[in-house]
């Protein structure tokens, strides 16, 4: 671990510990925007990590950004950090403008694209995007659509659309935005190769959920460990019982597996390229999330099942995030195709050979 990485981790941990408290997470669920948390991260330069300084970013690598995001997962930070990272990275690739304001988007559904019609100086836009993380608190939203001739992505202001509130099973905001023949004068509308961009977002989006879950699993292990040393039954702290020790060890195993899977997926990450690592890490961490949540609740007993106790802020997130950007079934199918295509070289070669396919997304000239 180099000094810069350590510095970023230490600073982010301190910010999260101080500001991202139980009260803040609960209040966000009631509809309050965690503005102080966002502002401090922005002031510390954490929002635009992995974008070169000459492009308006704060430098550093993707691994740094994913380290920050893992801590956001560990502390259940109620902000669109994952979406802002990915959105800014995409805009940077496409030559768009970068900002450290909250930005969000929903993974584009190719059957529900926005319609863009040129109208003088601006565009008339219609369409709907669902389950956008934290859209109600965002400044800008990336929407994916089609003009008469090509696919585009556009960065619009939240006020251009009508927002309907929604949430996922963790109580995190997942809102719908609707535009109905809305005239937008000044916005970036950038042509894209849709399949390529959507594929990149599918993989990098999954990687954000992977590190968020790795962080939340760590917190779940910490809470469970602490509980077993504090809770006394039959005259002893419950960690002294072998039945509890077996559960703790399984939980520790899931945590360790989740951690290394996340590290390796981050290590192999190159935007625009797909390797098997993200698929395998997502499958493994989805499994770890389910097991870790179940064990934590079993060990905590009834108190862990209450709103009062903080455990649910992490277990509900694990349950929510494992279904975002691909379940085990979806990634399992994708892997199955790759293994079949790998042919007679077999599973061992598939597991051990370093292979990634793809190319970097670049600015595309308009048709």
């Amino acid at each position: 671990m180099n000094e810069i990485t350590k510095l970023i981790i230490d600073a982010t941990t301190k910010i999260m510990k101080d500001i991202c408290t139980k009260k803040l997470v609960n209040e966000a669920e009631q509809g309050l925007w965690a503005s102080e948390l966002w502002d401090i991260l922005a002031d510390s330069g954490m929002i635009t990590v992995a974008i070169p300084e000459e492009r308006g970013g704060n430098g550093g690598g993707y691994a740094d950004a994913f380290n920050i995001l893992r801590l956001a997962g560990k502390y259940a930070a109620p902000i669109p950090l994952a979406e802002t990272f990915l959105g800014n990275w995409l805009l940077n690739q496409l030559g768009g403008e970068i900002s450290d304001e909250p930005l969000t988007f929903a993974y584009p559904n190719k059957n529900q694209l926005f319609r863009f019609q040129k109208n003088g100086e601006g565009w008339v836009v219609s369409g709907k995007a669902r389950a956008i993380p934290w859209a109600r608190f965002a400044k800008t939203i990336l929407i994916f659509g089609q003009t008469e001739s090509e696919h585009v992505v556009a960065l619009i202001k939240k006020e251009h659309g009508h927002i309907e509130l929604g949430q996922n099973l963790a109580g995190e905001a997942r809102d719908t935005i609707t535009l109905d023949h809305t005239f937008i004068k000044d916005c970036q509308v950038i042509p894209i190769e849709f399949e390529h961009v959507s594929n990149q977002l599918w993989h990098s989006g999954a990687l954000t959920r992977i590190v968020l879950m790795a962080g939340a699993t760590e917190r779940v292990l910490e809470l469970t460990k602490t509980y077993t040393t504090e809770r006394v039954q039959f005259g002893r702290p419950i960690h002294r019982f072998q039945a509890i020790q077996q559960q703790l060890a399984i939980l520790a195993g899931e945590y360790a597996a989740a951690g290394i899977a996340a590290d390796c997926a981050v290590d192999a990450f190159k935007p625009g390229f797909q390797s098997k690592d993200i698929a395998m890490a997502k499958i493994r961490i989805n499994e770890a999330a389910g097991k870790a949540a179940a064990i934590a609740h079993q060990v905590h007993g009834a108190i862990g099942f209450t709103h009062e106790h903080i455990l649910h802020q992490y277990t509900r997130r694990l349950w929510a995030w494992r279904d975002e950007y691909g379940t085990e079934t979806e990634w399992g199918n994708q892997l199955a195709h790759q293994i079949v295509e790998n042919g007679q070289a077999g599973l061992w070669s598939f597991l051990t050979d370093k292979k990634s396919i793809g190319r970097i997304i670049e600015k595309k000239e308009s048709v």
Partner: protein, 432 residues
């Protein structure tokens, strides 16, 4: 400030928490937490080895890729020549001295050891690649396996110069095989109950007692025998044990087979009746046997053999499904494949840390727990995805499935049962 503990020197940037009068510093390089308690003006310092579950990522260089190509082409050639048929659990049941000597002649046994002891001074990651390729192919590596994995590192760390010069070159040539004498009829999971008695005599010890479940004692030349050189102290049961190199052809030793449920000869009972062991066969310090033995465990528990024992079956399963072109069935393999990918990364991370002189023993116990469960799951998955109707053991798929299933009870027992491993992990997590 800088201070020294057990030969390591630490640059410590202390944080002082006045409220709790605690002073602490976490050293990321060594996973060490240094804690000081302020009592008035007196400062007590303590160093706690944090039982870290965080692992490094191992990176392969282009040179390592070349090593992989080399071993793959060797294996391909051997298979074409009909030297061996892929077998499950080949690291314990694939005994072939000829094959071991072939590997030795290519410098693939004792790879990481110093050249003056017959080694090649290669990296732990190079060795990792060689061993995982051999296991994945189900090749017969049982003869030299324990000597290469465990005895070599043990002697390098604790052995006398004479022992190193005598034993290591013979191991590296694939000519000298070792067994490990741990369990006894009344000392299984509770290993501290070991009672094999070593009575001090002129120039050595006289051994009386027995070892049981000793893998490969019938073909090994020597055994690293854990015995009591001092009587049991009920206050500290780990005291008074020593590791002795025992010549298995010595007078007074009787080796009796204990057949596996398949009828295979793998386990043995080793009986000692007034067996003389010369004084120069003591490994390390007299009375330090427990601690020395425990230090081997991170090597023993974290290697690729802890999750690849049934890989030949998994490869055959994938191949069978691929030939059917059934993507749905293949997707059922994805979960196990992802788990295998994760375990391999954990295991390589541990190999990397061992080379950096860290002892990730908790993580090693976890690899063994998770890995051996996966080995067993492979057999279950195989029977669910491919019907064995009209197949017999003369079909390769059925043969591998039978080997995997009938050996599976051993996976989660050998090298520490799952239950014992979990107790170790749990205590490490709690920190008590």
């Amino acid at each position: 400030m800088t201070f020294t503990n057990q030969g390591h020197s630490f640059e410590a940037y202390f944080t002082i928490d006045l409220k709790f009068r605690i002073l602490y510093y976490f050293d990321y390089r060594y996973d060490i937490l240094i804690i000081g308690m302020l009592e008035g003006l007196k400062l007590t310092l303590g160093v706690i080895l944090v039982k870290s579950l965080k692992l490094s990522i191992a990176h392969f260089s282009d040179r390592t890729d070349a090593v992989r190509e080399e071993i793959r082409s060797f294996i391909r050639q051997e298979k074409e020549n009909g030297t061996f048929e892929p077998k499950c659990d080949s690291w314990l049941s694939g005994y072939s001295p000829e094959f071991s000597r072939k590997l030795a002649s290519r410098g693939w046994i004792g790879m990481t050891w110093p050249k003056r002891y017959g080694g090649q001074e290669r990296s732990a990651i190079d060795r990792y690649v060689i061993t995982e390729e051999l296991l994945a192919a189900g090749s017969p590596v049982a003869a030299h396996w324990i000597a290469d994995r465990q005895t070599g590192p043990l002697l390098l760390r604790y052995g006398t110069e004479q022992q190193k010069e005598y034993f290591l070159p013979k191991i590296a040539k694939g000519e000298s095989y070792f067994a490990i004498g741990l369990s006894e009829p009344n000392a299984g999971s509770d290993l501290a109950a070991v009672s094999l008695k070593a009575t001090k005599v002129d120039n050595g010890w006289i051994l009386n007692g027995s070892k049981i479940w000793t893998s490969g004692a019938h073909f090994a030349h020597y055994m690293i025998t854990l015995c009591r050189t001092s009587p049991l102290n009920p206050e500290n049961r780990h005291e008074g044990m020593s590791q002795l190199i025992t010549d298995l052809s010595a007078p007074g030793i009787t080796i009796r087979p204990i057949l596996l449920m398949t009828g295979e000869h793998h386990f043995n009972e080793v009986l000692f009746e007034d067996v003389f062991v010369p004084v120069n066969m003591l490994v390390g310090q007299e009375g330090n046997g427990w601690k020395q033995g425990m230090a081997e465990l991170a090597y023993e528990r974290s290697g690729p053999e802890r999750f690849l024992s049934t890989f030949p079956l998994l490869e055959e399963l994938v191949n069978t499904i691929r030939l059917k072109g059934d993507v749905y069935l293949m997707s059922q393999v994805s979960s196990i494949a992802s788990n295998l990918w994760t375990l391999r990364n954990m295991s390589m991370g541990i190999a990397q840390m061992l080379e950096e002189n860290k002892t990730p023993d908790l993580a090693a116990a976890l690899v063994k727990d998770l890995g051996t469960q996966l080995e067993t799951q492979v057999a279950e998955l195989a029977r669910l995805l491919v019907s064995s109707e009209n197949m017999t053991v003369s079909d390769q798929f059925e043969k591998l499935k039978l080997e995997a299933l009938l050996h599976s009870p051993g996976f989660t027992l050998r090298g520490g049962t799952t239950e014992i491993l979990r107790m170790i992990v749990s205590k490490g997590v709690i920190g008590k």
